[in-house]
């Protein structure tokens, strides 16, 4: 658990989001409008419930936190003005920090592959990201049929663009790594 204690979870969550999960009174309006509700095993309000009940492990291992698309429909409709999208971001961040095995490895690997390009080059490098993601996920055949047309349309560049101020970007990433220790 990388120097992090379970009892700190709630405190850390409140520190990241500047809001107390107790604010949620479980009306379920968020889940009613959630676009990924049909694909998730637990509706988003249940993940809040886990945290309210101190079941932090259940929250951090829920596939729902990774399926959340960040659309913020929940946040904008919440009668309690609880920012659920921000809550999901924070639970995910803590799950990574606690070294919890992700219940949705593919999504996590995708985000890691995307961020790796930003860290290395300063901008998104789609080809590098796709290669990196495929190596991690071992999902080699997905979308290969799209590759030729995407190249010929000029939508996928072969080489990355290198940002000059890369040192600044590396520093930001280093800090984000520190936070997780």
């Amino acid at each position: 658990m990388k120097n992090l204690k379970a009892k700190d979870f709630k405190q850390k969550l409140i520190a990241i989001t500047s809001q107390d999960p107790a604010q949620c009174y479980q009306c379920g309006k968020c889940s009613a409008g959630c676009p990924v509700r049909d694909f998730a095993e637990a509706p988003p309000n249940r993940v809040v419930r886990y945290v309210q009940l101190g079941l932090y492990d259940k929250a951090m291992t829920s596939p729902t936190i990774w399926l959340c698309a960040g659309c913020q429909t929940c946040t904008s409709r919440c009668p309690q003005e609880f920012d659920l999208a921000k809550f999901m971001d924070a639970v995910r961040e803590l799950a990574i920090a606690y070294g919890v095995k992700s219940a949705d490895k593919k999504t996590q690997e995708f985000h890691e592959a995307f961020l790796k390009q930003i860290e290395n080059f300063g901008r998104a490098y789609e080809l590098g990201m796709l290669i990196d993601y495929k190596l991690k996920s071992k999902d080699f055949f997905q979308d290969v049929d799209l590759a030729p047309s995407t190249f010929s349309k000029g939508k996928l560049s072969l080489l990355p663009h290198n940002v000059k101020g890369k040192q600044q970007i590396k520093k930001i990433f280093k800090e984000s790594g520190e936070v997780k220790k």
Binding site: I16, T73, S76, R123, A124, L130, E175
Partner: protein, 315 residues
Amino acid sequence: MKLGYYPGCSLNGTAKEFNSSLKEVFAALNVDLEELNDWSCCGATSAHVTSHILSVALPARNLLIAKKQGLNELLAPCAACYSRLVSSQQELKLDEKMRMKVEDLLEEKVTNGLQIINLIQIFQKIGLDKLKEKKQVDISKIKAACYYGCLLVRPVDIALPDDMESPDSMEAIIKSIGGKTVDWNFKTECCGAAHSIAHTDIVEKLCKGIIDNAQKHGADVIIVACPMCHSNLDMRQLNIIKHYPDHKPIPVLYLSQLVGLSMGIDEKKLGLGVHYISTKPLLEKIKSDALPTEVKKEVPAPPVSNDKIKKGVEA
């Protein structure tokens, strides 16, 4: 009019037609775009879903560049970049501790006052009358479904000042250039966004729902202002065609492409040839001399009796 420009990563890659059409349209409207020097990625979805500090500091680097370049207004046409930039700006304003941390990381003071605007807002700023003046081509034969997706209208209060559930500012722009729009239900439903690669099946189902609703309401084209919405609705429509044999393809255009068409700008310059779903039938319809197709008058469904509702029988 001079305007700071943050294209964002997608506009140099998968959404290059968004970039080229936008530049053509603004040149015609005499708006000078000044690109940020050495801009970097805003972190997009991947930053905010994994690290709070990344989600604030990565956009902040670009906000500082804009200030250094003496810009007061910054156009971020990508809805995702726009949302990340305004969210970072808001957080730096409200969270003192975060601001100090970011200032420490970037070795610079964060200042307020930069106005970040999206594509809809810039058209509003230029003035819909001006768009009307520049109109050369009649686009009234096609009907557009304006798709806002999530990040143009959210976060509420700091994004586009429009109705979060049923916005209509894009419709106003299209009407000003003589276009027709449809009333439909999925204007702000999520397309699945960044799940395109890891959960293509989810994106496919969500996009199928959006497209079906647009077509049910008579749309010939879906208009977007977000590269992620575009790639999901356009490129992932190929998956939909594969899995739903009855699916009728519908082209998906960026708002800047439609405005460009109304101004008579060359189709190639607007990047209308690099879509996955062909734009040809749509362009032919615009050019056709045929009168606009009559809207079929729908016969109102007979009222449903309470018994039927109780039994769950569909009317």
